[in-house]
């Protein structure tokens, strides 16, 4: 009986701990994300432009169409084609991408109006494989963010559901 109670206590503590750490991570992402800024063509740092409803933001510290960041870009393209009204912002780290690089990307890649450069250093600890996707509400609050280990299909499904729920 004592063994059973001990096991139950351990399991409960584990579940509570997992929940608390998930909440804690969410809070950390939200707090860090508040410090992300985009860089304008004149070099000024300004807050993120927000859509009327949700804004989907992906941060890229690295980018290549031949690696997981390219898969993310394709996922964003799919979201864009499925939900053209959704606000999408793809922010490339100003530490690794110059203004010229972003101009080139705009000329070469689709969704050129969504590509911007920005200061993403505050969120660096939360990047997974050089990227992080978050969804903001119209006031800039983080209402969803990707978790480490999520694949592109999961990301697509969760955001599609979120957009669906919001539009209803």
């Amino acid at each position: 009986m004592l063994i059973r109670l001990t096991l139950l206590l351990i399991a409960t503590l584990f579940i509570v701990n997992c929940h608390l750490s998930a909440v804690s991570r969410s809070n950390e992402v939200a707090n860090s994300f508040a410090r992300v800024k985009i860089t304008t063509a004149t070099g000024d740092s300004v807050p993120l432009p927000l859509g009327n409803a949700l804004t989907i933001v992906n941060l890229f510290d690295e980018f290549s169409t031949g690696c997981p960041t390219g898969n993310r870009f394709e996922a964003m393209e799919r979201l864009h084609s499925l939900r053209p009204a959704a606000s999408i912002l793809l922010i490339f780290s100003e530490k690794h991408f110059s203004t010229q690089d972003i101009e080139n990307f705009k000329a070469i890649l689709p969704m050129s109006e969504s590509l911007v450069k920005g200061d993403i250093e505050a969120v660096r600890p939360h990047l997974t494989s050089g990227k992080l996707l978050v969804v903001l509400d119209s006031r800039g609050n983080v209402i969803w963010h990707e978790e480490p280990g999520m694949n592109e299909q999961q990301v697509l499904n969760e955001i599609s559901n979120l957009l669906q729920t919001t539009s209803n």
């Binding site: 290549s64 169409t65 390219g70 690794h96 110059s98 080139n104 000329a107 890649l109």
Partner: protein
């Protein structure tokens, strides 16, 4: 109009019918230029060198992938310098696999395309890092013309053009060239991988990694000619031959089939004669027009133990033709082919 279309279609059909056949043995005299196993100083040993280019002065630059650096040799193979090492700050080159990723301009500035976190880094001939810019895709080959325009062949499953051109300051200028398979997909990606080289008149020659075709483009990107060579029969097993066609590849662009690597690299000399290195031990020689003049197997110095992955010569008409062996780090040269 219809007649022109019909002729074009027939021409395309003829090109689509691959030629797979045995090719003759030829004799070339390869002399050792740089043997990595000989020097005792570890700094002088190459480790999995991925690419080689020859400047007008005759100096040879090697992308030493395993050591993440560029090695500069004199025409006789004497070690002159190394640069781009891991501890060299923003100019550190990152290892990126066996891409044909180094080029020089007429002043012997060195251009390195790094596929890992795709970018182009530019160095002076003395190894001084000048600048770099990012690419949205990895590139399988890099070439530079007299105007210092940089030509890159993307390695991507996205439906793109064949060639992307940037200025030496990193500004995207233009793109051109039809991919062999236009649909997106992994097989389409493999089939469209290409290597490129500029001639002395800034024409661009492009050869495909897994399809026997040489294209010649004008400096502005207009297609001037397409010429086919023979796929050495040992590269395509009998069971695959019936499906080895552009029609089949176009029908199944996302197939898991990995086509054999036929063309390793391309280089052009000062007279406009071009060389393709195929499957490590075959050479295609083509005229300035792009027309194939000869094709043959050659015997490696160590009786085929060498694995040559690159051929390189320079726009200086007197330059020899170099062969790079990635396994042993050996470089050999021959006066002509």
């Amino acid at each position: 109009m219809n007649a022109i279309l019909s002729i074009t279609l027939i021409y395309r059909l003829v090109l689509a019918l691959q030629v797979i056949s045995s090719i003759p043995e030829g004799q070339i005299r390869l002399s050792p230029v740089y043997l990595s196993s000989q020097p005792k100083d570890a700094r002088l040993k190459l480790a999995g060198p991925a690419a080689i280019v020859v400047g007008r002065s005759g100096n040879v630059y090697v992308f030493d992938d395993g050591n993440s650096r560029i090695v500069k040799l004199d025409p006789r193979g004497k070690f002159i310098a190394e640069f781009g090492q891991a501890d060299s700050g923003p100019g550190a080159v990152r290892p990126g696999g066996l891409n044909d990723s180094i080029a020089v301009d007429q002043d012997e500035n060195v251009y390195v395309s790094e596929p890992g976190a795709p970018r182009v880094s530019i160095f002076g001939s003395d190894g001084r890092f000048l600048r770099s810019f990012r690419l949205p895709f990895p590139s399988t080959s890099i070439a530079v013309n007299r105007k210092r325009e940089i030509f890159l062949t993307p390695d991507t499953a996205r439906p793109t053009e064949l060639i992307y051109v940037f200025s030496d300051t990193g500004k995207f200028l233009r793109r051109f060239g039809e991919r062999l398979i236009k649909s997106p997909g992994s097989l389409a990606r493999n089939i469209n991988i290409a290597v490129a080289a500029c001639d002395a008149n800034d024409n661009l020659f492009v050869a495909f990694r897994s399809w026997p075709l040489i294209r010649k483009y004008s400096p502005e990107g207009e297609l001037i000619s397409e010429n086919q060579f023979t796929i050495p029969s040992e590269l395509i097993p009998d069971s695959q031959r019936k499906n080895y066609s552009l029609d089949f590849f176009a029908k199944y662009p996302d197939s898991a089939f990995i086509p054999p690597l036929i063309t390793h690299s391309i280089s052009i000399n000062g007279s406009g004669t071009g060389y393709l290195l195929l499957n490590a031990h075959s050479i295609v020689v083509f005229a300035p027009s792009g027309k194939v003049s000869k094709q043959f197997h050659f015997r490696a110095p160590r009786d085929r133990a060498n694995l040559f992955i690159r051929v390189a010569t320079s726009l200086n008409a007197k330059a020899p033709i170099y062969f790079l062996d990635t396994h042993s780090g050996e470089i050999y040269a021959t006066a002509n082919l």
